[in-house]
Structure formats: structure tokens, C-alpha cells
């Protein structure tokens, strides 16, 4: 499961993720990171059974943690099921079902935003 971890100005320089890994023994996969002077945002992938533990530990260390459930917003009204998003996505989030309707595997998204650029109909948005 993907977790979006944000931490404030003060915490940016602290090794929060490393500490959580050490203390919990959970292997965390960092999929995306944006560290800026005032804040940090990291997208991590955590085994489903360890989500609760990791969340608690992160929060105890002062981070804000959200479970990323709808990484990509897919506006079905705007979408015409063309598939322009499919081949540009490095994570293979998008595919067609047997009826040639676009389907999304949200759990794979790492918020790169390439699909947003590729969609001719403005039907996709990702969490910033």
C-alpha cells in the first residue's frame, strides 16, 4: 500500500524514514521524494500488513501520513477511453478491459504525472 508522508520544515533534515525502518524492521520502498527547504513529501510503498505500524511510528516522529487510495483522479465523463495514457505510464497503471474501457490500477501509481500531460481530454489529475 502506498503512503504519502509529509513533514514540516523542522523535520526535513531528520532521517525519519531510516528511523522507522530501523525501529519497525519494515522494508519501505521509496517511490518518489520531493524535499524542499520548507517541507518534504515522500511517497512510500509498505506491505499491507505493516501499514498501521508504519503510520503510527511516522506520526510519533512528527510526520503526517495519508494512505494514498486515489492517486489518479479519473473523470469518467471526460474520458473517451482512447488509451493515450497507457503507453506513457512507467508503472502500467492503465489498461483496457475486455470491453475496451479504460481501467486503473491505482496501487501502482507513483504520482509522476506523465498521464496528466498525455491525456488529450483533461480527464486525469494526480495528487500534488
Amino acid at each position: 500500500m502506498k503512503l504519502q508522508v509529509s513533514f514540516s520544515r523542522k523535520k526535513v533534515s531528520e532521517p525519519i524514514i531510516a528511523r522507522v525502518v530501523r525501529d519497525t524492521g519494515v522494508l519501505i520502498n521509496v517511490e518518489r521524494a520531493r524535499i524542499e527547504p520548507s517541507e518534504g513529501k515522500v511517497l512510500i510503498d509498505v506491505p499491507d500488513e505493516s501499514v498501521k505500524l508504519v503510520c503510527e511510528k511516522m506520526r510519533a516522529l512528527g510526520a503526517t501520513v495519508e494512505v494514498l487510495e486515489h492517486a489518479v483522479m479519473h473523470d469518467e465523463e471526460e474520458c473517451v477511453d482512447c488509451g493515450a495514457c497507457i503507453s506513457v505510464c512507467p508503472q502500467e497503471v492503465f489498461s483496457f478491459d475486455e470491453e475496451w474501457a479504460l481501467t486503473l490500477d491505482q496501487g501502482r501509481c507513483v504520482l509522476c504525472g506523465r498521464c496528466v500531460q498525455a491525456c488529450p481530454h483533461g480527464a486525469l489529475t494526480v495528487e500534488k
Binding site: V80, D81, C82, V88, A118, P120, G122
Partner: protein, 502 residues
């Protein structure tokens, strides 16, 4: 055996016509045989839904009081072509907003109209004795217009090249976003469901034939512009009443970095009148071949790097040079099916009858490239041939002296063989002076990745390179990587022919 169009229409009127989609036809022919399929099937329905820039509508606004000869017209700030009679304009789908750029264009105006949304119309005129008014601003709904007639110069290509990109950067094209190093392939068209793929010889599709266009019944006007059936790239000029159309089958779109376009739904019911039609409608995706071409090549003739079928493209991946590359479509197969299904319901309900072309098209027609009487200037013609260069092992001081003396800001750096290996600017030298690191020779401070051009490159392409990399000069190299000139933004400026100034 042959079947007359009257026979087919009688069955449609009686509610007895057998209508199948172009997707079903190959199996029916395989199972029943051609003769039996001809007896059995009356109509084959086709459909396609994809980006068709060559789309637009003639609009008649009616007369204002006092009347105005609308010489320039904007609809929601998108200019329509108004070099027509007093209160008509042609809104082209690809026209872009004066204020919003490619976020909104002609296609969006058309979609707003068919969705029932109000559109602001502004027009200006010099004023004449018969049309004294000089400006008008009003807000109109589609129903307020006297006429809104969609006329699309070229829709529904028989087939389309698939696109990939062999360069090192992402490129944005009308074939969508193409990743570097052949990272993906995009394609367009519905394959075996595409109208013209089912009648490539133009036997039953021609002028006057009824079609599905944008959700209503329209018709084929004639052979589309740039139609090239002799090379497998036929298309259609189509028309229909915009007032009857639906946003389900007319959708505005923007290709990032390219511009506005319109997704249009087109479908043609094909009357199964003889064995030739049976054979042509029995086509499968496996038999419709197209080339994958490199859109990274900035020339008209783009190299084809693989030949594949629509079945390959639709499978989601193709093999290029032993590597698996993911493919995806720009047009909607789901919508194409919906169109073929809608035609089926119309024909089965007796609300759509078929006809043969009133005028057949020229199946031998072939598109020619533009005859250019004034050739595009090449880099060779405007480059500066006096090249001041520096060797990579010379001291930085030498580079500084050359930059000062040579009155240049770009110093190509050469290796022992005289080949281009880097570039140094006054900025690099300044930075070196301020650096705390021990920097002594040019090699230490040069930029190694040099954006370069060749003498034969079109000036427009070189200008794009300068813009894209935000630089102001390009070394011009020969095939042996020797610098034979420099091209600077100043040289380009002298041309003033890069783009007409408005």
C-alpha cells in the same frame, strides 16, 4: 449473385435487414462462405472515433440591427474564418483562443455549442453603406443560429502511421506524447472497424453516401483533401447538421505541446451488394498493415522503422529491434464500437437507408508533397564561417583571451584530432575565476554535452534547438565532428524569415 441497393433498402423498410458490425463480418464469411454471406448479410456497420483536426462548422448568425458585415469574428475569443458573406463564419476545430492559447480552441467552441452552453460572439467591421455597424457582441446558443453545418475537409483516414520517437528527449506531437529512445508507440484508427479499411477501393463509399457523423446522420461530401487511396491513406470529406449532434461523439481535445484538435465519431454503413464488398468487409486487424515511423526526425519523409498490423498495435506491445515496446491508441475503440452499434440500431429501426455513391472517387489518387519554389534556408547559408576555437588542454587564460579578442561568446573546444568535444562561454570562464577549485585548463570548465547543428540542417530546426535548450549559439559540424562554422541567434535574426511577423 448481386444484391441491389433497392433490395437492401426494402429489407430495411420492412425491418428484415441483417446488420452486422465490421468486427463480426470476418467470422461470418469464414463460417458461411462468401456467397452465403452475401445472401445473408445486408449491411456491415463501421466506426471510428479519433482526433480529426480537419473538422469545423459553417455558422450563420443572422443579421443584427443595424446590420454588420462581420469581417473578423471571435467565438469565446477563438477566431473563426469570416472571409465569407456578411454573417457567416467557419469555425475550424484547431483554431486557438486569443486569450487562453491551446487550453481552449475551435473544437471547444463546437463542443460548447452542442452541449447547449452559451458562446460569446464578437465581430468587427469597417462599416459600409449597406452594413453600417462596426462592432457587435452577443451571446448565442446553438439554437439561436440559423444554420450550423459541420463540414470536415478530411475525416476518417483509412489507416494511419504509428508513431515513435528515437531522439533523446520527450516529444509532443499530434500523435501524442512520445517517450525518448523508442519508449512507446502511439497509433490511431480503429483497424478492421474503420470505414475505409472496409472499402479501400472506394466501391460503395462515395459522394452522397449516408454516414454517422458526430452522433447524427450526415453524409459523405466527397474525397477528402490529401486523400491518397493509392498509398492506402484515403479519407473522406464529410458533412452533417451540427444542431443534431451530440457531445458524446464530438469532443474537444488538446495535445500538450501541439495544440487543439477535435475527436470526431464517424461511421459508414456499408451495403453488401456483391462479393467484392463481402471480401473487403471480411478484413481483419491482422491484415491491416502500417508503418511505425520516427516522429523525432524533423523531415517530411520520416523513416519507417517497423511494419506491423493493427492486431499487433492493439495487443499493447510490439517488437522493435528485439525490444518490446508498449503501444497505445489515441482513438477510442470503445467509442468506435458504440458508433457501429448505433448505426445498427438506426438501420434495424428503419431510420437509416443506404445509397450508392452519386459520384465515385478516384482510387488511383496519390498525394504529392508541396512544390516549393523557394527552398528553406539551410544553416550553411547563414552560419559564420570564421570559427575561433580553443584546444581542450590549453590554459583557461587562453580561452579568456580568445573570447575577448574574438568578440564571441561561444568558444568551441577541440581535441587533438580537431574534433568538437565541448564548448566554453564567458560565463564558464567567469565561474572558473570565482571557483575555489583548482581549475587550470579548458577541459576543466567546458560543457561537454554540446548541442550542435550541421550545414544542411534547415534553419527552422536549428532555431528550435536554440529555443529548446535556451542557448544562443550552435557549433556547425561536419560528419567528422570538425567545426566548420558557428550559428548564433544573431545570424538567425538577420534572416527574419523564420516566421512572418504579425
Amino acid at each position: 449473385m448481386e444484391k441491389s441497393i433497392e433490395e437492401i433498402n426494402t429489407r430495411i423498410r420492412d425491418g428484415n435487414a441483417r446488420v452486422v458490425s465490421a468486427e463480426e463480418m470476418p467470422d461470418i464469411v469464414a463460417e458461411l462462405g462468401e456467397e452465403e454471406a452475401l445472401r445473408e448479410v445486408d449491411v456491415v456497420t463501421t466506426g471510428t472515433f479519433g482526433a480529426m483536426c480537419s473538422t469545423g462548422a459553417f455558422l450563420n448568425f443572422g443579421h443584427a440591427d443595424p446590420p454588420i458585415r462581420m469581417e473578423r469574428v471571435w467565438l469565446n475569443d477563438v477566431e473563426a474564418y469570416s472571409g465569407l458573406a456578411a454573417v457567416d463564419a467557419y469555425m475550424g476545430a484547431a483554431s486557438e483562443s486569443t486569450t487562453q492559447g491551446n487550453a481552449y480552441g475551435g473544437a471547444h467552441v463546437i463542443e460548447d455549442f452542442v452541449s447547449g452552453r452559451p458562446v460569446e460572439v464578437r465581430a468587427i467591421s469597417k462599416g459600409t453603406d449597406c452594413y453600417p455597424r462596426r462592432t457587435v457582441t452577443t451571446t448565442l446558443l446553438l439554437e439561436d443560429l440559423n444554420d450550423a453545418v459541420m463540414v470536415n475537409p478530411r475525416n476518417s483516414f483509412q489507416c494511419y502511421d504509428a508513431a515513435t520517437n528515437m531522439t533523446e528527449r520527450v516529444i509532443h506531437t499530434y500523435m501524442g506524447m512520445l517517450l525518448p529512445h523508442t519508449g512507446n508507440v502511439s497509433f490511431s484508427g480503429a483497424g478492421a472497424l474503420s470505414p475505409l479499411a472496409n472499402d479501400p477501393a472506394y466501391r460503395v463509399i462515395g459522394s452522397g453516401v449516408p454516414i454517422f457523423l458526430g452522433g447524427t446522420q450526415g453524409m459523405v461530401v466527397g474525397q477528402g483533401t490529401q486523400s491518397s487511396p493509392a498509398t492506402g491513406f484515403a479519407n473522406l470529406m464529410t458533412t452533417g447538421n451540427l444542431k443534431e449532434m451530440s457531445p458524446e461523439f464530438l469532443r474537444a481535445a488538446t495535445f500538450t505541446g501541439y495544440g487543439v484538435t477535435m475527436y470526431v465519431g464517424v461511421g459508414v454503413p456499408i451495403p453488401v451488394v456483391d462479393l467484392d464488398v463481402v471480401r473487403s468487409t471480411a478484413v481483419r486487424d491482422e491484415e491491416i498493415m502500417t508503418n511505425i515511423v520516427d516522429y523525432g526526425t524533423p523531415h517530411r519523409e520520416r523513416p519507417a522503422i517497423a511494419r506491423v498490423s493493427y492486431a499487433d498495435l492493439k495487443s499493447g506491445k510490439v517488437e522493435i529491434d528485439g525490444e518490446e515496446v508498449r503501444t497505445s491508441s489515441l482513438s477510442s475503440y470503445r467509442k468506435a464500437r458504440e458508433i457501429a452499434e448505433t448505426i445498427r440500431t438506426w438501420v434495424e429501426a428503419g431510420s437509416m437507408e443506404l445509397s450508392l455513391p452519386t459520384r465515385r472517387f478516384n482510387a488511383a489518387k496519390r498525394t504529392r508533397p508541396m512544390r516549393e519554389t523557394k527552398v528553406v534556408p539551410r544553416v550553411r547559408e547563414i552560419m559564420d564561417t570564421k570559427v575561433v576555437a580553443v584546444a581542450e588542454d590549453e590554459p583557461i587564460r587562453t580561452a579568456a583571451a580568445k573570447l575577448l579578442k574574438g568578440e564571441t561568446n561561444h568558444l568551441p573546444v577541440l581535441n587533438g584530432e580537431g574534433q568538437l568535444v565541448g564548448i566554453v562561454t564567458t560565463y564558464d570562464v567567469t565561474k572558473a575565476v570565482g571557483s575555489t577549485r583548482e581549475l587550470t585548463v579548458v577541459r576543466d570548465i567546458m560543457t561537454r554535452k554540446v548541442v550542435r547543428t550541421t550545414p544542411e540542417e534547415a534553419v527552422d530546426v536549428a532555431a528550435q534547438k536554440l529555443e529548446r535548450h535556451n542557448i544562443s549559439a550552435l557549433p556547425v559540424v561536419d560528419p567528422a565532428h570538425r567545426v566548420i562554422g558557428m550559428l548564433s541567434a544573431i545570424d538567425l535574426g538577420k534572416l527574419l524569415g523564420g516566421r512572418w511577423q504579425l
